[in-house]
Amino acid sequence: MKRLNIHIVFGFLLCSVSANAQLDSIQQLPEVMLTDAKLIHYSKGFKLEKLNDSIVERNATSLTETLRYNSSIYFKENGFGMVSSPSFRGTNAQQTAVIWNGININSVFTGQTDFNTISPLSYNEIAIRSGGGGVQYGSGAVGGSIHLNNTYSFHKTDTTEMGLRYGSFTTIAANASTTQASKNNYLNVGVDFISSENDYDFVGKNKKNTHGEFLRFNAKLNQARKLKDGALTWNSEYTYNDRNFSGSLNTMGKDGYKDVAARNLLQLKQEFGAFSTKASFAHLFEQYRYYPNSEKPLFDEGRANTVIGALQSEVFLRKKLRLNAKIEYTLIDAEGDNVGENTRETLAAVVLLNHKIGKDFSYGLNFRKEFLNDFDNPLLFSADAKWKVSEKYSLRINGSKNYRIPTFNDLFWYAGGNTYLQPETSYQVEMGQEFSIGKLKADVAVFYISSEDLIKWIPTTGSVWKPINISETQNYGIEITTSYFVKLGKLHSLDFNANYSYTKAEDLEKEKQLIYVPFHKASGAAQYNFKNFSAYFQGLFNGETYTTTDNSESLDGFNIYNLGVSYVLPKSQNIIIGGRVKNVFNTYYENVAFRPMPSRNFQIFLNFNI
């Protein structure tokens, strides 16, 4: 308990020191259904955080911004709005899986998701699942996974939401969505758009960000139909990004990038007594065009189609034992100027089990085996347990073996691609403690990840770079998340949220910290509410990160603060107006070397709910 006290004190200090980010406690209406229910049922012994709408809205420019301020994940962003790749628990971007309604959407070519191409406003729920998720979500769920979920319900609903935002650097954004639901049908349609000149000042450098314009458009359609003892659901989304890539302190940007993603998912769910069966069919399309010179029509292109068919059956016995078996077939057909045309077939068999013993203890065992593709795919497993020691304190533990299969670029890139690559593998364990003392909630997790056969591109003779299974890493660290809510009289209330992480991620050969993994990161927010008015102050502390593999050069740590106010118009509860100031103290900072981030900037917004 002594340790607990330290943690609590620490949590408070963080709130007051850097007044920090917001992680919401689980807040879900019981009747809302997830298209990816296994996220809830088979992750009991894992750390799962959900970001609610009000939190997302504070940092809605991109998924990068949302997660930067609300999780321990570090983002390498090549200038604001440009290519953005995460480091989750010290792992690399290819070891962080992005899961859309249960489907892994990391690029076939790069094996990662550019978090600036994802609109955080297109989903009902954004969840962060820390730790290994390879069994459930396949390749790349090593450090953790980000879940973008569209939920549905069959309760009568008729809502339409609209939002308009205008900000510095000629940033214009709008979103609109409508949800219509009845006893048997659910329909949600929405669009969302942002464009920016993105010509911010490099603070103190007498230079501007040039050639960094970006535009993102997203449209979604989510439908569900109730069937006798089941449901048919349809999720669909389309995203288009058109960006010029900005230069650095030393270079002028001249290249550009356009990408398109279209995702469709059809699921049929049927219940047969204690059994529940789900058939899924998905199609994913991705296309990129890289323009070495954005003024010229020349480009390099890649296109990939992924078709997934899956059948799963679940049995739930005596409200205690949940067992799920799934067969999933995936066919990828990709074609690119630098990789030629290639296909990959995978057949995966997955068994998931969760067993509740008594009221307060449950454990899970999960296995995955893949067939057909050319690698020697390991048998993946994970085991987890959660023990609710008391109303105020729970313990969880999990361990897993995960992997990342080589991407099409790794295998087929011209020149250098290596078809003899094997998957990267990693083992990990995590132990977590959850505290809930009145309005104070805290979560303390320690983790250890050991990875081997990591794919690394290295120069070979003839100056060709080639990927090989070479490096080994070891990551460990601690993550602390706290939230606190206090009501001050009838009209006032205060909300605090903070998180802190320490991450050591080491290249075992060099015995050096991996580049772009900060040892320390903290973020948090404090929000004050009074009647129709609310204001928040949000902060981010990012520690020093190394930029060279021998740790000879580094980026400075930085503190960034944002401020926001909003007001619900008293005569019409459906209109909210507000404004935000980002980087209040006009701090110069970089999260990728030589790529300055925005100066102080302003945003005003107007939201309607009809």
Partner: protein, 348 residues
């Protein structure tokens, strides 16, 4: 764990915005003469290259000397350097500029920012003229050129369109020989430039990557097309008689052998191949010669019985300069350089 928390706490409290760059105290000698200069390309993705100085007596090493002296960075991808009189012309590839500094003090003298596009190498000819090879847009094989500089006012006086992928140059007898290595592709030409005009081209082996002049002969080392092109060709050493401009001899390597980095000391030629350095007698060439040193090097230069070789390591950390005694082939010195040391120059 307690200690860890305390540690992180104190860090949180006390870390403020600290200063930039290496954090190493840098020694600033009065002059950078009598030594070796190394150009470092610098980190990928927007960083700045640098120049490292090592004195001939090995007692002084100074990193990042241009920035130390002038307080500003050179720019992105410091490709190479050339000299004219007291001036060093530093070619900054991706920033599209040539930074000019006094080669002994490294004080900034001037810069050339217009008239070059993707510049690669600089040479001086007849005192007042400089030549700079330019790729233009590397995806466009028709816009490559050699910029002719007037070194009296450091401006581009004219440009000479040439075949794609012009790279290293050698001046000889008021002519400049330009090797067309082929940029991101492959080419097989030597352009001969005289004054401000293209006099002609000489077809050599595929991918001519380095040249030396020995007496009245130009040795051109051609790497051959690499395997990944699907049209792999053998490397070759081509000897051109400079009095006639004709090829006098061609020596072929094995089909899968792709040599690089030709350099010369006296009558000995040195080059790199498959993780080894080979030695040849320029007066009676028999390939491959004798292998004398093991190691994969990014740049090689031989001079006065010593071989200078840079190691770029993983291209994402500080590299090194190794010096070998060519009488024993033993490494005698090893110095840290900047990131991706790509050029070795003698500043005597």
């Amino acid at each position: 764990m307690k200690k860890l928390l305390l540690l992180s706490l104190s860090t949180l409290f006390f870390i403020s915005c600290s200063s930039d760059d290496d954090g190493q105290p840098e020694y600033v000698p009065a002059a950078f003469e009598n030594g070796i200069l190394i150009t470092n390309e610098g980190p990928f993705s927007g960083g700045s290259g640098s120049v490292t100085y090592v004195s001939n007596d090995y007692t002084t090493v100074a990193q990042n000397i241009y920035k130390t002296v002038n307080g500003k960075s050179l720019g992105n991808i410091v490709q190479s350097m050339g000299f004219q009189g007291d001036n060093a012309y530093i070619v900054v590839n991706n920033s599209n500029k040539i930074m000019i500094a006094n080669r002994y003090t490294f004080e900034s003298v001037d810069s050339i920012t217009s008239g070059v596009n993707n510049p690669r190498y600089f040479v001086e000819s007849d005192g007042n003229k400089g030549y700079v090879t330019n790729w233009g847009d590397p995806n466009d094989n028709t816009d490559d050129f050699v910029a002719v500089l007037d070194l009296r006012n450091n401006t581009v006086s004219t440009t000479i369109p040439v075949a794609f992928g012009p790279e290293k140059m050698v001046p000889y007898n008021n002519k400049v020989y330009v090797a067309h290595q082929g940029a991101y592709g492959q080419n097989n030409l030597i352009s001969v430039i005289s004054g401000s005009g293209l006099e002609g081209t000489i077809t050599v082996g595929d991918v001519p990557n380095s040249m030396v002049v020995s007496g009245n002969s130009l040795f051109v080392l051609c790497g051959g097309n690499p395997n990944y092109t699907g049209n792999e060709t053998a490397g070759s050493l081509v000897k051109i008689d400079l009095s006639t401009g004709q090829i006098s001899d061609t020596y072929n390597f094995g089909t899968t052998e792709h040599p690089t980095n030709l350099t010369m000391d006296g009558t000995n030629l040195f080059y790199a191949l498959d993780g080894k350095v080979f030695k040849l007698n320029s007066t009676s060439v028999t390939l491959p010669g004798s292998d004398i040193i093991d190691g994969s090097f990014y740049a090689l230069r031989a001079k006065d019985g010593l071989l200078y070789a840079t190691d770029a390591k993983d291209f994402a950390s500080k590299g090194s300069l190794k010096i070998f005694d060519l009488s024993t082939n033993v490494e005698i010195q090893d110095f840290q350089t900047g990131i991706i040391p790509g050029g070795i120059y003698f500043n005597d």
